[in-house]
Assembly symmetry: C2
Homo-oligomer: 295 residues x 2
């Protein structure tokens, strides 16, 4: 049973793709009496203001969280620790702090030490996004039909978890609760490694001597263009993801490289059966994805 | 200056995604007096027949090419040699043979020896496609705005080249003429390697113990799903591409692996600058693609 959530005051820390989508959603569905947007950059605040995304705008973290009952951290995970340190003393008793970062163990480690007694940290990750970033990139339908993963610790307040759960359900998501370490492993393969691979191949293509950049662009329709879309994702956000989820990413990368070496050998030896067998299997996974409405 | 091409009789050898799209286009724009479809599989012919894709249908290669002035080979490149051997003696003098394969040097080597005097081979590659295959997958707009590469040899008849050039222009493509070896290098990076990488990562995800297949599917929206689309492409066609373009694919794969090792090192050492620098560069490539209208 979920209820439509309602907050007195929401503080959006960072107003990029995810938080600006939430700003629109909160406004559309009247989920809060007031919303304040924080960004450290004046130009980002100006952009948010011109889009009328919230009631107030500030570049002062303590002003942003003052009196807020919900604080949503929508910033690169590498910046979360220093933000938590600043906002900690300014948080209202009973406030819920959540985030939308793609890595969860490091967020817990970076934020928990600064949370005062009576403030509830409910780490979250809405698995949704586009390659666009900034306040203008958001739209309220971003979360529709996708999954959100919450990774509360054992001692997290159940009511706070339920409120965040209902919030994402209301945004159109399905919600799973999972251990933070497991989240980081799952996302390492479904999101972090795909991004790393995409960044890498686009970089490789760029550096070739035998093939010009112009040629790469002209003939991108053969498959390459799908990688360029992913490789256009926010550079700072993704740098932080790889650094914060280092172990799981390196583990998955190791498996990937091992498998790739075996494919390489199959090509070198002209072993068509091994290739075709894999390609038939991967096609089935696509079908499962279509059946699960996750395409 | 291009003219609308017209043929007395077109033979479509294979009636999958590309050739069935061409069948629809030829019919729509009245580019031929008659069209005959060949497939070795009765069920594929039945499917083509039920879609009313051509005037005639046959599973006999010699019947298919009899009296045809244009023969389009739309079959996996690994099957082209044996098909060329059978159709060679049955080809009409003056006929043009072209193909749509993703590898060009091997096609020239496999087909040329069987072409009789007075028959013109114009190898071609429309760089367009989807992850779907079979007669039902085609649509006449598939080629719109994309590039087609022709790789004629030095002694190829100029009139024949011009006719095939005009044919693809009429299909909505821009046409480039290129050396076959260079084509195979360019496509190795813009198409073959992306497919190999996508097949590989989907296979890796499938084989993990720590993460279930169900989890991979649920959280695919984080980037993985784009890879599953590419990794759903026709298994036989792609097996043949890797085997036929072995050298160029292995060369590009070598470069990719080298670059990946350096990214891996950057993650291990926490070298965020190297990561961010690459990610900013790859984002620019995406912008070039958007400017070139190839997204």
């Amino acid at each position: 049973m979920t209820r439509k959530p309602h907050f007195k005051r929401v503080a959006l820390i960072g107003i990029g793709l995810i938080n600006s989508s939430l700003a629109r959603l909160i406004q559309r569905d009247k989920l809060a009496d007031s919303v304040i947007s924080f960004s450290r950059k004046d130009e980002t605040l100006d952009e948010a203001r011109s889009l009328n995304l919230s009631h107030e705008y500030t570049n002062d973290l303590r002003v942003a969280v003052h009196n807020a009952d919900l604080i949503i951290l929508g910033i690169p995970v590498g910046a979360i620790s220093s933000v938590a340190k600043v906002i900690g003393p300014a948080l209202k008793k009973g406030a819920i702090v959540t985030d939308v970062g793609s890595v969860k163990r490091s967020v817990i480690e970076d934020v928990s030490p600064y949370m005062p007694e009576g403030v509830h940290l409910v780490p979250g990750h809405p698995v949704a996004g586009t390659e666009h970033s900034g306040p203008s990139a958001g739209f309220p339908g971003l979360f529709e039909g996708r999954w959100c993963i919450l990774t509360p610790e054992k001692d997290t307040d159940n009511v706070a978890i339920e409120i965040i759960h209902d919030f994402w359900i209301h945004a159109g998501m399905q919600v799973d609760i999972m251990d933070a370490n497991h989240h980081d492993q799952v996302l390492a393969i479904t999101s972090h490694l795909p991004h790393l691979i995409a960044y890498n191949i686009v970089g490789t293509a760029y550096d070739l001597e035998a093939v010009t950049e112009r040629e790469v662009i002209k003939y991108a329709a053969g498959g390459f263009r799908d990688f360029t879309r992913i490789a256009a994702s926010d550079p700072t956000m993704w740098r932080d993801v790889f650094l914060s989820n280092r172990e799981a990413v390196l583990e998955m990368l190791g498996r990937f490289t091992e498998d790739l070496a075996s494919l390489q050998r199959a090509i070198r030896w002209g072993d068509g059966d091994t290739l075709e067998e894999l390609f038939i299997k991967t096609r089935e996974i696509r079908r499962s994805l279509i059946d699960a409405k996750q395409v």
